[in-house]
Amino acid sequence: MSKDLIDQIVNNVLQGRRNKDDEGIEEGMAGDPGVAELVQEALDNGIDTNEILLNGLSKGMEMVGEKYETGEYFIPDMLTAAEAVEEGMKVMEPHLVKGESGSGKGKVIMATVEKDLHDIGKNLVSIMLKGAGFTVVDLGIDVPAARIVEAAEEEGAGLVGLSALLNTTMSNMGDVVKELEEKGLRDKIKVIIGGAPTSEDFAKEIGADSYGKDAFAAIREAEKLLK
């Protein structure tokens, strides 16, 4: 019974179905319970949150990653699956005890820096990080350095992810690092940057901890930084 539910969660992550209204990759699935309903049912049946997270949601997402690597899945499949995981996490949230391993891989603040409105890449990174089991607080676009640091402190985040697509705005990433230093938070909060004009070298230059060239690099780096 519990095994069956967990398998269904995995399958629905693969199909990218948030809830019963969603279609899957295969047609004709609308109406069947999706990830949200299945996670709820699992909780009602007293299945451990850890079990749901590790063997259900994360396992599903891992399989999605493998399918992407082999060329069976594409970005839309990954994003859709990640959304389904996010929906499952929402249902789990009230049941997760702070600090317990079930609370995921850690908390990340994501933002596009001040004066920059580009967010397609940043959203992709946010969704994928969520799908990989991180808790993500996405502050949106055009976010001043002070606001980013404030949110990171309030939320108790271990990592700040910054995105910039303009070479006129990338310098604002350095401001975030400075602001963290000034507030004495730099040793507690790591910084990762990304976006087309940025680079490994630029990350070093502004004193960020890491650079990610795409969403997969973002996950890999975040896992290292939050270990």
Binding site: G16, D22, E23, I25, E27, F74, I75, P76, D77, L79, T80, E83, I120, N123, S126, I127
Partner: protein, 516 residues
């Protein structure tokens, strides 16, 4: 959709064929062509054709052209109209695998892409690794190796053509120049090489009249008899019966009449060159090439009314610096689109051309020239588009790597003709989707792209992208893919059929027998 359009899964339906010519202009060209057939008329080098035409109402006057007897034949419009009345509007090109049949309908809009035709050279990529003097790095470069065409290349081509999903019919693409190939055994060997390696329609010219019987016999063995062959003509023919301007070639007319009597499909192919053997301006070219195609169709229909015949116009333009053919130019598209409209007007299936590269090597320039005509010509919805795979150096050279690239480009050209999907039901669905996305956290449509992705409704993009940032790796990637295609299982004829063919076909070379 027209019924014949539905009968075949292959090719692509062009929903709204582009009409470059107005109805009035079509009628003007029709009239001009018919006037030309009456005056100056055609210069015919084939006595039997002359007497058939005379019997039907033409007048002929004997003359002498160099060493040959010839006749100026004035064909009145009604003789041509009569022939057009008996010519069928639907012609099927059969195939060893019946699913691969090509169903041509002059009143439908389905377009098929095929290969062609007898290049002297086979140009192959041979990757070689060098150390660059620029940066000291090792680099693998696609070195080109050019060889004379031979039987082995022809077999390989047919096998590759079997694998290319956008190739619908096979016209042999390399000329065979092996030392054991002679005029007396060439046809049987090239037909067998094709038929034994591909299950799609095989369309071809015949060099030596005496081998026609053996070829037909071979095809009959494959399908199980004459009647079966007429139903499923696994071989169809091309006859270049016209020598532009407006001359009927004796030996070819002989073949045309024999094929008509057999009831097998035949393409009347005429290929004038604008600027040398035809006027270079659009009207002049089309008026002449149309007259030439009509003359061929008339002879064919007089020989056997109702025989399956295809209007084959291959009008090309001359290069102004050396009078070679030129394919990747705007005039080529104009000529060919017009001819497609003329054939449709006559309700006779059309054989057209796109995708020859004038460039000598595979790659950028060749691909640009090809893409240009792949995109333009099919918009006029001719039935058959030949010369579409791997041809370079204005049909002198065949490159298998380019053929693989062309297969992809033809996929793009075909995709253009997908329907828009605008309808009432879809509008409601679209509004709902956009509203849903507007209220979702990231306002992304990725989720909604998936269905189309899975149904194959999203074009796949360029499959031969390399990883390097300082080198074009396309040809290297294509080469790898080509190696995979060539390694796939061969679709040879069954052993018993091969045995029968070898027993009854004089001149067939033993080394072509896969069971030996």
């Amino acid at each position: 959709m027209n019924q014949a359009d539905r009968l075949s899964e292959r090719g692509i339906v062009v929903h709204k064929p582009y009409a470059r010519l107005s109805q009035e202009q079509i009628e003007m060209i029709d009239k001009a062509s018919l006037d030309l057939l009456e005056k100056p008329g055609i210069l015919c080098y084939h006595e039997e054709s002359v007497s058939m035409l005379e019997k039907a109402g033409a007048t002929a006057k004997k003359t002498r052209e160099g060493e040959h007897d010839a006749w100026w034949v004035s064909i009145p419009a009604k003789v041509v109209r009569q022939a057009l009345d008996t010519a069928p509007s639907r012609v099927t090109l059969g195939a060893r695998n019946p699913d691969n049949k090509v169903v041509l309908d002059a009143e439908g809009n389905r377009v098929y892409f095929g290969s062609g035709s007898e290049t002297n050279y086979w140009l192959e990529v041979k990757p070689e690794t060098f150390t660059s003097k620029v940066d000291g790095h090792e680099r693998t470069i696609p070195v080109m190796k050019r060889n004379r065409g031979n039987l082995d290349y022809l077999c390989r081509s047919a096998h590759i053509a079997e694998q290319l999903d956008n190739l619908d019919f096979f016209i042999r693409n390399v000329n065979v120049q092996d030392s054991d190939i002679t005029t007396e055994n060439k046809d049987v060997n090239v037909f067998f090489a094709a038929l034994n390696n591909i299950t799609k329609p095989v369309v071809s010219g015949v060099a030596d009249f005496d081998q026609l019987e053996s070829i037909v016999n071979m095809a009959e063995i494959i399908v199980g008899g004459r009647e079966e062959l007429v139903k499923n003509p696994v071989v169809s023919f091309i006859t270049s019966v016209i020598k532009s301007p407006l001359q009927v070639v004796g030996e070819t007319a002989e073949k045309l009449i024999a094929i008509a009597k057999l009831g097998l499909p035949v393409v009347i192919s005429t290929s004038p060159q604008g600027g040398s053997t035809a006027p270079i301006d659009e009207l002049g070219m089309v008026a002449q090439v149309n007259a030439e195609a009509l003359a061929g169709i008339t002879i064919n229909q007089l020989a056997n009314p109702g025989a399956p015949v295809i209007y084959g116009a291959v009008p090309v333009r001359a290069r102004m610096d050396d009078l070679h053919d030129m394919y990747g130019v705007p005039e080529f598209c104009h000529y060919n689109m017009d001819c497609a409209q003329m054939a449709r007007y006559y309700k006779v299936p059309c054989y057209s051309t796109a995708g020859v590269g004038d460039a000598k090597v595979p790659g950028i320039q060749a691909s640009v020239e090809k893409m240009y005509t792949y995109t333009a010509v099919p918009f006029a919805a001719p039935g058959l588009v030949h010369y579409a795979f791997g041809l370079l150096d204005k049909t002198q050279t065949f490159s298998p790597e380019q053929a693989v690239l062309d297969n992809h480009k033809i996929g793009m050209a075909k995709f253009l003709h997908r329907e828009s999907g605008v309808n009432e039901e879809a509008v409601e669905k679209t509004k709902k989707t956009i509203e849903e996305v507007m209220h979702s956290p990231y306002r992304m449509y990725a989720r909604y792209a998936r269905g189309m992705l899975r149904r194959g409704e999203i074009f796949g993009g360029f499959p031969f992208e390399g990883e390097a940032e300082d080198q074009d790796q396309t040809l290297l990637q294509v080469k790898e893919h080509l190696n995979e295609l060539e390694a796939r299982e061969h679709q040879h004829l069954p052993e018993d059929i091969c045995k029968k063919i070898f027993e009854s076909t004089p001149g067939l070379l033993d080394r072509l027998n896969p069971y030996k």
